[in-house]
Subunit: 258 residues, 2 copies
């Protein structure tokens, strides 16, 4: 993708009250570091930030957000799970905003290990999920995505834009200069997602369960934290592919080398 596009981000959905923004990715490909994508929902001028990432990315993400909204208007930060590339910047984000953090209740007691974290600002999401009402009345839903890979992972469903933010699910690993924002050709995308999903997702049974619940939502886009966004025909192609994937404990003998 063009460097300027990578840097400035793209509006994925917009109406009078509500915007869904892809905040871009690292400007320069960096070998040995997994690339991440951040998203921002703006609803009646107030912000919800999704997986803002680690210490490593903080200044870039602050700059990207501030092109769309002032940082002090971020009311909520959603963490899909506990990994360093998702949530290790928490202490910095709590410092520059008054936002409340939403993460699986499995991880609330682990967050203070990232640094100074006020537990009163962390809201644990129960296993079955929950919701978050925005100023316009639109209600975001925390959708269970446990064991894909994290034992406590949530997706964020926005029923207004029909965009499902999926954290690690759908993640692709690009080679240098190969990055695209949208999956244009699903067959060509498979080699970029095969390795990750086969090795990190816990089992086909849980993948199928997740695919069934996502199919019922009929999303316009599936937006992961790494790789590229699925839209149009590639949404269904991805769900069909993942439903049929043998992975994780299904192939434990192969992984453990027993």
């Amino acid at each position: 993708m063009a460097e300027t596009q990578g840097f400035t981000g793209t509006v994925l959905y917009e109406d009078g009250d509500h915007k869904y923004i892809w905040l871009g990715t690292e400007q320069k490909y960096s070998k040995g570091v997994i690339q991440t994508m951040q998203y921002l929902i703006i609803d009646q001028g107030r912000g919800v930030l999704l997986d803002p990432g680690g210490v490593h990315l903080f200044s870039r993400v602050v700059a990207a957000v501030s092109r769309y909204i002032s940082i002090d208007k971020i009311d909520h930060i959603f963490f899909s799970h506990q990994d360093p590339d998702v949530s290790s910047g928490i202490a910095l984000w709590l410092g520059v905003t008054k936002a409340k953090v939403h993460i699986s209740s499995l991880w609330t007691r682990f967050l203070p290990h990232f640094g100074i974290v006020d537990p009163a600002r962390v809201s644990g999401i129960e296993d079955k999920g929950g919701s978050l009402k925005l100023p316009s009345g639109t209600e975001l839903r925390f959708l269970p995505a446990h064991f894909m890979h994290s034992p406590g992972q949530f997706n964020l469903w926005d029923p207004r834009s029909k965009i499902l933010f999926t954290g690690d699910i759908g993640a692709a690993v690009f080679g240098e200069g190969e990055e695209v924002l949208f999956v244009e050709d699903f067959d060509r995308h498979i080699p970029l997602i095969q390795g990750f999903h086969t090795r990190y997702i816990a089992s086909n049974s849980v993948a199928r369960k997740w695919c069934d619940s996502v199919s019922r939502l009929d999303p316009e886009m599936i937006a992961p934290q790494h790789g590229a966004i699925y839209k149009g025909a590639s949404v269904k192609r991805f769900l069909d592919w993942l439903s049929a994937l043998r992975c994780g404990v299904d192939i434990a003998d192969q992984i453990f080398g027993a």
Copy 2:
């Protein structure tokens, strides 16, 4: 346990050349933060540090280590997996030591998100495991423990002390003032480990696989990163209990609330 014991640590194994030390835990119980335990192996005067933990604990663990060995004699740091309570202090530890870091190759590309990390100092462990030769000739083994919970988790087997460091496996959650260093009565310990293992471990099939491989080692002690150390009769009791546990994707309907 007595506060002074908690603070100063305990030598679990010792011979002329080789020591295995429990470095203690947080001196004060802190509600809302998961407690962690660190271990140090000293072999012919050189150190291997196990799961030294996050930013939050750095100064305590540095102080605890320095009672036994000078910090610059730590040659290796082992991270069982990528969670914040295990590895978020990596940039600080790389700053005060010349140590090499060992972690699953699944996580090497995620570590830079914790801060400044020189990839040349991180050694990715392949899925099937590996080993690390110490100055005395004793060879530590990286034993696969994937999906329990992390998709890329390793245990560290020390064949000389016969202590198996298990990261999250065996973790117990104590109430205030209930901490013990060793599991004295396994039946009374079950309620403290049941919740964690049922919810975080990916499946009974993988738990059984792990228990079988650990039984073959016949460890003297199983030393987890949280909770208490299993020794003597409690080792076998724990393995039998875990082998029979339905967990994770086995009970997905219950967890997802479907």
